[in-house]
């Protein structure tokens, strides 16, 4: 997959005949091809992204990925890879981490899919030499590659969705001599009301049960996102991103007495970041990369009284500032032997109007060294990353230090031209978030980093029109950070309590063929995950499956491109086995398996294109998160013009 993608982009750029474009593309490609031992576990191409109507939709089909979707356009969407927890998945935009020290969650719903050309998932992280130090310690990495400008182009689209949603999107791109720019503006306006079913039928002597249709309330969303990028021919790029939103938080569905209003809690966000990177080949065989980022985010959460509208709501404010500087260097010692070193510095600060707030700042250093051997058939790399993290309390001179050492080794071998075998082993930390440590009355400042050991064996067979890959893995998470009740029965606190063992297998088979009038691509994915709570506090449920992880999941994806007519069609079937919402895998906590069939069709008429996407065609009612029903059958229509 990795090979196909860059060459595809190169093909496009040469076809456009833009020389500056070529060099920008070349810079991007060289970055990707900088040499990794492990290939991306899964990739979503630009074409698939464009038809996906949302980044979460595109990512959800990837092998080993569990999306936690709270439903609707405004519902939080986070990624969990191989049962490690979403805090272990680093989301990188062009190699720079999307940082959230408060809760370590990245909401994919806030990143417009149209701004990216590909998404790659590295289970076990990436082992490229020029990456930032922090990446060496990421348990999993979701790499979002920005869409580079191609010539001069203006495009505008509008998407009309279900639940009275409208999403306009404007983008302008220009590559001129040595400079490429890309600007985009996206908005979302959604009423968010959608019907859902709740039902429970009992096998009782008198029969009975209920099946009711209800409507999701207070799940509206207003958002705007502006994204500007500048690409330099000499390997530098800068990006500025602004996102602002205001939404309702519908909360879980539960029985409410006598017609009391539904949840009226609100959340408003404003995020901003400015990031840049620069890569340069210095002298013989030596190249370096410098990256930097500043980000600010503000959240205003309004807690309203459900029972009395006359009561003034309570407003909680959270603010975060983050600064990141990274430098990395790679040296080619011999044509088959390279070595690299990287150092990152980060600073985080969090502000809040919570009672007894600590006003924490976090200063962290990440240092990594790595070396890589690459022969014709054999590639291997070893790296070591060190984390040093100091938290300083803003209202006293107290500070707290945490350290972690992450070794990482990977190897790949090609015994035959079509066959690649690979293996890796890696230890990664999940540092405690500000919420884990300092949340009023719940936080525990004594927390240690959560510790994840991952090991994987993989094999891939690749032919010109098809490929199949198999991976088996073993993950062990210890010192897992969870909330536990304390000696005082009215209070909870965070502890390093649990231990989780995950044994998994993934199969991905793909077929693509280009006929004269038609190109066909088909992908089948299957994931098996046995994620067992071992060493939990409650021995009665030891060995039970970790909440929300299905034993079996997978998807089938077929896309057809009728080249001459400009018609594209695709069908995707998602299947997910039963899950439990509690660590006790008992019938009362069981979440039903679900199947979701999506299909889309698009046609281009020169500069115009129209696409139609039908989601949940089988109109199944299902929940990814207990109490948060997903929408039933719905249709989205998008009209796009490109000048």
């Amino acid at each position: 997959m990795k090979k196909l993608l860059p060459s595809g982009l190169l093909f496009l750029s040469t076809a456009l005949g833009v020389s500056a474009q070529e060099s920008i593309e070349a810079a991007l490609v060289s970055e990707r091809a900088a040499g990794t031992v492990l290939e991306a576990a899964d990739t979503v191409s630009a074409q698939r992204l464009s038809r996906s109507f949302g980044l979460d939709g595109a990512v959800s089909g990837m092998t080993g990925v569990q999306i936690r979707d709270y439903g609707g356009l405004g519902g939080l969407k986070t990624v969990n890879v191989r049962s490690l927890g979403s805090e272990h998945t680093g989301v990188y935009i062009d190699g720079i981490l999307v940082d959230n020290a408060q809760n370590m969650q990245v909401d994919l719903g806030r990143l417009p899919e149209g701004n990216f050309s590909s998404v790659r998932l590295y289970t076990g992280g990436r082992d490229a030499l020029l990456q930032s130090a922090r990446e060496y310690g990421s348990a999993n990495a979701l790499y979002l590659e920005s869409r580079a400008p191609k010539g001069r182009k203006f495009s505008a689209s509008v998407t009309a969705g279900p639940f009275l949603a409208v999403q306009p999107y404007l983008s302008f791109e220009n590559s001129f001599k040595r400079l490429g720019t890309r600007l985009s503006l996206t908005g979302t306006l959604s009423d968010g009301r959608y019907p859902f079913h709740v039902k429970d039928t009992k096998e009782l002597p008198g029969g009975g049960g209920y099946d009711t249709t209800m409507v999701r309330h207070n799940s509206d969303l207003k958002s705007i996102c502006a994204d500007a990028q500048v690409f330099g021919q000499k390997g530098w790029r800068i990006r500025a991103y602004v996102y602002a939103s205001e939404r309702g938080l519908p909360g879980p569905v539960f029985k409410r007495g006598g017609g009391w209003p539904q949840s009226s809690d609100r959340q408003a966000d404003a995020d901003f970041f400015l990031q840049g990177s620069w890569k340069k080949a210095l002298c013989a065989g030596n190249s370096m990369a410098v990256r930097g980022k500043y980000s600010h985010s503000a959240t205003r959460y309004t807690d309203c009284s459900e029972f009395d509208a006359s009561v003034s709501p309570v407003i909680y404010r959270y603010g975060q500032d983050a600064l990141m500087l990274s430098i990395s260097d790679a040296q080619e010692i011999t044509p088959w032997w390279k070595a690299g070193a990287a150092a990152d510095f980060t600073y985080n600060y969090m502000d809040s109007n919570l009672r007894n707030f600590v006003y924490p700042s976090r200063i962290a250093f990440y240092g990594a060294i790595s070396t890589m051997l690459s022969f014709n058939r054999l590639k291997a790399s070893v790296s070591l990353m060190y984390t040093l993290q100091d938290d300083i309390y803003g209202i006293s001179d107290k500070s707290l230090r945490r350290t972690f050492l992450s070794p990482f080794a990977s190897i790949s071998y090609k015994p035959a031209s079509h066959l690649t075998l690979s293996a890796f082993s890696k230890r990664s930390p999940r540092m405690p978030s500000f919420n884990d440590l300092y949340y009023t009355t719940v936080g525990n400042t004594g927390l240690k980093p959560e510790d994840a050991w991952q090991s994987e064996l993989g094999a891939r067979w690749e032919e010109s029109s098809w490929s199949i890959s198999l991976r088996g893995y073993h993950n062990l998470v210890s010192n897992k950070i969870i909330a536990v009740p304390t000696g005082n029965q009215f209070r909870w606190s965070m502890y390093n309590m649990e231990k989780v063992r995950i044994i998994g297998a993934e199969v991905k088979a793909s077929y693509s063929r280009r006929f004269e009038r038609l190109s066909v691509e088909a992908i089948a994915r299957y994931t098996f995950q046995r994620a067992a709570n071992i060493g939990t506090q409650n021995t009665a449920y030891q060995g039970h499956q970790v909440p929300y992880i299905p034993l079996h999941s997978g998807n089938l994806d077929l896309s057809l491109d009728f080249v001459r007519t400009g018609i594209r069609a695709d069908v995707t079937l998602f299947l997910c086995g039963e899950r439990w919402s509690s660590q006790a895998n008992l019938p009362q906590f069981r979440l039903s398996p679900w199947a979701c069939l999506d299909s889309g069709i698009s046609k281009s008429f020169g500069k115009f294109s129209l696409s139609l996407r039908a989601c949940n065609i089988l109109n199944r009612s299902y929940q990814m998160v207990s109490g948060y029903p997903m929408p039933g059958f719905n249709v989205r229509l998008r009209a796009c013009i490109t000048l």
Partner: protein, 391 residues
Amino acid sequence: MFNKKALLIISGIAAIAVACQKGGLQPSDTASEDPDAFLAGTTVTVGEKSSTFTKLFLLNEGAYQANNCTIDFFRFSSNTWYSDIFQKTNPDAALGLGDTGNDIAVYDGRVWTVLNGSGAVVVLDAKSEKKLAAIAVPAPRNIAFLDGMAFVTSYEGAIWGGEAVKGKVYAIDCISYEVEGSVEVGCQPEGIAACGGKLYVANSGGYQAAGYENSISVIDPGTMKVESSIEVADNLHQVVSDRNGNLWATTYGIGEYDESFNYSQTIPCNLYRVNTDTRKATLVENVHASLITPAAEGGILALGNEEELSGACSWAISNVSADGSLRGAKTILPTEGYENAYGIICDPSTGYIYVGFTDYSTPGRVECMEPGGKEIWHVTTGINPGHFALY
């Protein structure tokens, strides 16, 4: 279709896993004449004494906003424990009983459940467990009865960390199930008790940024007016009248941050004797009282964590007589490290004590014990087995 088949296999495995769980209880022989047969209960071995009551009801609070508040009951005559009966006796009730229960009581052949999360009081027939009525009460907490009326404390419009909002007590007619009136009391009223023809309401003030409440409001049920208040201590929790009409109150305890931002409890959950004539409260020394319930021989049983200030767990029951002295030594409860004792009741006809244990996220446990603490039987319950009532 592939999917369905896989599912059958998975659920088969799950069923076996559930069946293999430990706990030495066997499913009951469901005799055909048994009125509870369709509820499929669990038989337990009981001691020699027999209760004068018919049933012991248990309200499992469930997890916050998880809509899994459930009712279990124990039928003394058949020694059988029935789990999660509401949906079985009321299959047509959409979304079950509701969210986050906070109290249960039996009055005049009816079971009254207070659902804090759902904002409702649900009344069941104690014999058939069929739903009779659901009454909307905003953020209800606890219930007491006097002269054919039910009185329910309510947080009303309060929000955690918000401005001080006075709570209320709602009066509900036990025949018509109509709300007849309400009276404003202190902030975040918790426990309520009827004693000597008056209602006593414990105000906590636990939601306020400004501080705690420290008094009991005394209500005249005839006029539905607060006639006086009794100062006790900060952050009040329960107020209970014992079998001899003596009034008792407890506090929730208070926590604080040290200079390293470690939060810990500094004031324990205390027990007070309340003299309703002099309107004076006296601290009962050396008793930890997370929860209290009337003792069989008069006075009060206090369930508390002896190590609450150190953050460790050592749950014990203190049997306190009316003069505030301890009857015998405290009964130390055997708990598995993760558990907290969460609910208590004493059957006055047998002296047996029933204690609910929870880890807050998985099904809890109820233990039936002799007054000395010797375990007679235990069963698995729903989440957070917190509140009992005898019928």
